[in-house]
Amino acid sequence: METIKIITYFSYLIASVLFIIGIKMLGSPKTARKGNFYSAVGMFIAVVVTLADQGILNFQYILIGIIIGSIVGATIAIKVKMTAMPQMVGLLNGFGGGASTLVAFSVYYDQLSLPNPNLNVQFTIAVMLSILIGTVTFSGSLIAFGKLQEIVSGKVIKFPLQNPISILLMAAAVVLLVMGVVNPQDATPYLIVAGISLVLGVLLVLPIGGADMPVVISLLNSYSGIAAATTGFVLNNSMLIIAGSLVGASGIILTNIMCKGMNRSLMNVVLGGWENAGTVTTADAKKVDIKSVDSEEAAMIFDAASKVIITPGYGMAVAQAQHAVKELMIVLEKKGIDVKFAIHPVAGRMPGHMNVLLAEADVPYDKLYALEDINDEFSNTDVALIIGANDVVNPAARHDKNSPIYGMPILNVDYAKTVIMNKRSMASGYAGIDNELFGYPNNLMYFGDAKDAITKLTNEIKNL
C-alpha cells in the first residue's frame, strides 16, 4: 500500500475515535463543550487528509462548495434564536440526507462514464439505499422545517388512501431497486427511486401534528445518520460508516425516549394517532367550576410558599418567556423560596428544547429535573406553576381509561398544595382534550400571554 494511503486510513481512524470521544464527553454538561470541540477536530482532520490524499483536480469546485457551505452554515448557526432550534436541527437533518443522495448519484454517474464501469451488486445496492434514505430524509425534513416554521400547517394533515398510497410507493421503490441492481447501466430506475423517495418523505411527515414533532425530528436525525453510513458502503469507507452509525443510533434512542414520553408506539405516531380525541370529549364534557386569579392574588400565594416547582411547556417557547421566568426565579429565591423546574421529556418541539431555552436565560442546569427525578416532590410542594404546558400535566392520563392520553407519564403537579396554571385561554392542548386539572379544587387559572403574565407576577411579588 502506498504511504499516502496508509496515512489517510490512520487519520480516518483517528477522526473516528475523536467522534466517539466527543459523543462520550456529551455525557456531562461539564465536559460537553470540549467533546464537541474534539469531534470538530476529528472532522477537520478527515477533510484535510482527504484533500491531501486525492490531489488538486477540480479544486475550484471544492473551494466554491466549501466557501458557500461555510458562509450559510455559520450564518444560520450564529443568527438562529434558541426558540427556533427545532427548525435548525430539522433543516440540518435534511441537508445531511440530501448530501448522501447527491454523493451516491455523483459516484454512480462517474462510474457510468467509464468504458468499463465497476457496477457490482454491493455498489449498486448501496447507491440505491443512499438515494432512498437520503431523499426521504431530505424531503421529510423540509416538511418538518416548514411545519415548525409555520409555513406548512402544523395540524394533522390527512387525505384519503394516504397509507395505501405510501405502501404502494414503497413496494414500487423495492421493485425499482431490484431493477437497478440487475441492470445497473440504466440510470432510469435510480432517478425514479429518487422521485418516489421525495414523495414518501412528504407523506411521512405531512400527517404528523406539531406536538409529535419531537418524535419526527429524532427519527429524521437517525435517518440522516443511516444515510451517511450507506454512503460509506458506496465508497468502501469505514469512517463514514462509523460516524453515520453513531448518529443513527443516537436518533433511534431519542425517538424511543420521545415515544415512551407519550406512551405511544412509533407506528402510532407515524400513522397519526389521537385523531378522534376532540369529538369524543366534547360530547360528554362536564361543566366544571374554574377559579382564576390575577397577578396580585397569585403573588400573595407565592409569597406564602416555601417550595415552588415550575413546569414549562411549548407555550413558554412561543411567548419567548424564558428570561421572564428566570427573573421570577431570582425574585422567589431572594425571598428564600426553593425553586425547581420539572421538565417533561416531550415538552416543546424537540428533545431537550426546554433545557436549552432555560440555559439561554441563565437558569443553572442543576435546577432542571427530569420527570422521574421530581415527580415524588410535588406532594410536599406549596405551589406548582405551569407555564404553557397542558397535556403533560393532565391527571386523566393516570386514571381515565377512556382518555386518549391514558397511560402517558405525566408530571403530578396536582399533588401540590396549590397549582397555578398560566395559559392564554381555555383552549385544549395538542391532544384536543379538556384538561380535568382545570376543575380541580387546588387549581387556579392565571390567564395571559406567558411573558406578560410572568413579568407582572414577578413585579407584584417584588412589591410585596
Binding site: I23, A32, G69, V89, L92, V103, T231, I253, A370
Partner: protein
Amino acid sequence: MDNTLLMLIYVFVLAIFIGFELITKVPPTLHTPLMSGSNAISGITIVGALGSVLSAHTGSTEIAIILGTVAIVFATINVVGGYLVTDRMLKMFKKKKS
C-alpha cells in the same frame, strides 16, 4: 461476498453498539446539543462529496462534478452550522453559583 464488504458490515454493527452504549448515558438536559452535534457528525458525508469531485474521472460527465459540488455545499452547512450552533448552546449550560 468479498472480505471488504464483510469488514464494513462488522464495523457498521460494532459502531451501532458503541453508539447505543454512549448515547444512553447522555442526560436529557443535553438532548438538543446532542442532536445538533450529531448533525455535524453526519456531515462526514463531506468526505464522500470531496472524493466524488476530486476523483471524478477525466472525461467524466459534468453531472458527477456538479452533483458532488452541491453535496459539498450541503455537507459543509451541516458541519459548520452543526458544530457552531452546538458550541453556542453548550456555552450556555452553567451550574449554580455557590
